[in-house]
Amino acid sequence: MPLRPLQPTIPMLKILKYSFYDLIRSRWSYVYFLFYLLLGFVLLFLNNDLSKAVITLMNVIIVLVPLIGTIFGVMYFYNSKEFTELLLAQPLKRSSIFLGQYFGVAGSLTLSLVLGLGIPFVLYGLFRSEAIWDFSLLLVTGAFLTLIFTALAFNIALANENKIKGFGYAVLLWLFLAVVYDGLFLMSLIMFEEYPLDSFSLVATMFNPIDLSRTLILLKLDISALLGYTGAVFKQFFGTSRGFVISLLMLVLWTAIPIWRLSYLAKRKDF
C-alpha cells in the first residue's frame, strides 16, 4: 500500500464545512462548550491562582477530552450513515468524504474546548500573566488529544458495522488508555524494580497518548514533584527542551497514523 500524503482537497473542505455546521448546531456541542466555560470560571475564581488552575485543568482535560472525542467520534459516524451514503453517490473521493467528516467533528470539539476555556481565562487576565504559554500548551495538547481520539473512534466505527460493538470497543479503548494502562505500567515498575527500567518506561509513555500529554505538560510546567518516575526519566534522558520536542513529535505521529489509517480503511469498505 503506497503511503501517499494526505492532500486536502476542496471537496474535502466542503464536507468539513457541512459536518462542522451540522455539529455546531447540535445541543451536545453547546453542552460541551458550556461545561468548559463553567469549569474555567469556577477554577479561576475559586482558586484565584492561574498556575494552579492550569494544573487542575490538565488533570481534567487529559481524561475528559479523550472520552468525549471517542464517544462523539463514534456517535457521529454511526448517526451520519445516511448522509455518508448520500455523499458516496456524489462525484467525490472517498477520502474527501471521511476526512472531511473527521475534521468536522474534531474541529468542532476543539473549538468548544478552546473557546470554553479560553473565554474565562482571557477575562481573568491571561494576556497579562506569565501562565499564557502553559495555558496555550494545555489547549494545544487538548486539541491533539481530540484529534487522536476522534481518529481512533472513526477507525473503530469504520471497522465495525455493529453500532453497539463499535461503541463498546471505543469506550474500552478509552478506559484502557486512560486508566488500565497506568495501572499495568505501575505494576510492572514494581514487579521489575531490580531491573533498569528507564527505556521501558520511556517507550511505555510514548505508546500512550494520554501519558505522553501529561508528561509534555508537566515538562513545560517544570514541576518536578508532579513529574513522577516517567517524567523524571524523560527529563534526565532528553533534558527539558528535547524531551518537550520529542513528546510533541510523538503526539504528531499519534495523530497522523490513525488519520492515515482512517482514509485507508474508508477506501476498502462496502457501503
Partner: protein
C-alpha cells in the same frame, strides 16, 4: 453505457453476485428486477463504486470505474431509503448537493412539480416518508446527466406524484438518457420500462424486452410472467 464482466461479490459467507455479465446500451429505460435479496441493490451500488467487487470489472461510459470517482459526475442516483441528516433544512440540503456537484441544476421546476415549496424551510427530520422521497427525487433529478439510476423510486409516493414521476422519466428518456430502475411495482415497470433485466441468485436470469419475457414464460400478463420466473425456478 455500462459494461459489467464476470462480477463477483460476497458479503461474509453470502455470495450475492456471482459471474455476472451485463451490458446496458445507450438510451432507454431498463428495469432491474428480481426477488428480495437477489442482488439488485448490490449491483447498483457496485456501478456507483459504493460496493467494491471481489472480482470482475465494471466500465461506465467506456472507462473502468475501479478507484475512480469523477465518472459519478455523469450519474444521478436515487438511493432506496431516503434518510437525510435531520438537522438540515430541505433548502440547505438542496444547496449543499448543488455546491458539491457544481453543475447547472433545475431544482425550481421539480420543487414546483412535486409541490415542495411549503417544506423548503422545514428540517428533514420532521418530514413524512413520502415528502422525503420527493426531496430525494428532486436531489436526484435536478441535474442533467446521461445516466440515471433509481432504486425503488415509487416508494411512499402518492398516486399523483407517481404520475408526475412517470412523465419525468419519459421526458428524460426522450432526451436520450439511459435510465436504470428497480421496483417491486410491476404495473409501474410495465408502463415505463423498455427492457427487463431479471436477477436471480446473483446472476442475470433474463435480459430482453417485455414481449420476449412474455413469450419465454408463455404468459400474457406481465406480472404473471415475472412470477412465473420465480416459481419456475423454485420448482426446477
Amino acid at each position: 453505457m455500462i459494461k459489467i464482466e464476470n462480477l463477483h461479490k460476497k458479503f461474509g459467507k453470502n455470495q450475492v453476485l456471482s459471474k455476472l455479465d451485463l451490458s446496458i446500451e445507450n438510451g432507454g429505460i431498463f428495469a432491474i428486477l428480481g426477488p428480495n435479496g437477489s442482488g439488485k441493490t448490490t449491483l447498483i451500488k457496485a456501478m456507483l463504486g459504493m460496493v467494491l467487487p471481489d472480482k470482475g470489472s465494471i466500465a461506465v461510459m467506456g472507462l473502468p470505474i475501479k478507484n475512480k470517482w469523477k465518472y459519478r459526475q455523469e450519474i444521478e442516483y436515487l438511493p432506496q431509503i431516503a434518510n437525510f441528516p435531520g438537522n438540515l433544512k430541505v433548502k440547505e440540503l438542496i444547496r449543499m448537493i448543488k455546491d458539491l456537484r457544481q453543475r447547472p441544476s433545475e431544482e425550481q421546476k421539480l420543487i414546483a412539480l412535486f409541490g415542495l415549496e411549503p417544506f423548503l424551510d422545514k428540517k428533514l427530520a420532521n418530514l413524512s416518508g413520502g415528502t422525503k422521497q420527493k426531496v430525494n427525487l428532486v436531489l436526484t433529478l435536478m441535474f442533467d446527466c446521461p445516466l440515471i439510476i433509481l432504486d425503488e423510486p415509487t416508494n411512499g409516493l402518492d398516486p399523483a406524484s407517481v404520475i408526475q414521476l412517470k412523465k419525468l422519466i419519459q421526458q428524460e428518456k426522450v432526451k436520450g438518457k439511459t435510465i436504470l430502475i428497480t421496483s417491486h411495482i410491476m404495473q409501474f415497470v410495465e408502463e415505463v420500462a423498455d427492457e427487463i433485466v431479471y436477477l436471480l441468485e446473483g446472476n442475470i436470469y433474463f435480459k430482453g424486452s417485455l414481449e420476449a419475457l412474455k413469450t419465454k414464460t408463455q404468459q400474457h400478463n406481465f406480472e404473471h410472467a415475472i412470477a412465473a420466473i420465480a416459481t419456475h425456478n423454485t420448482n426446477a
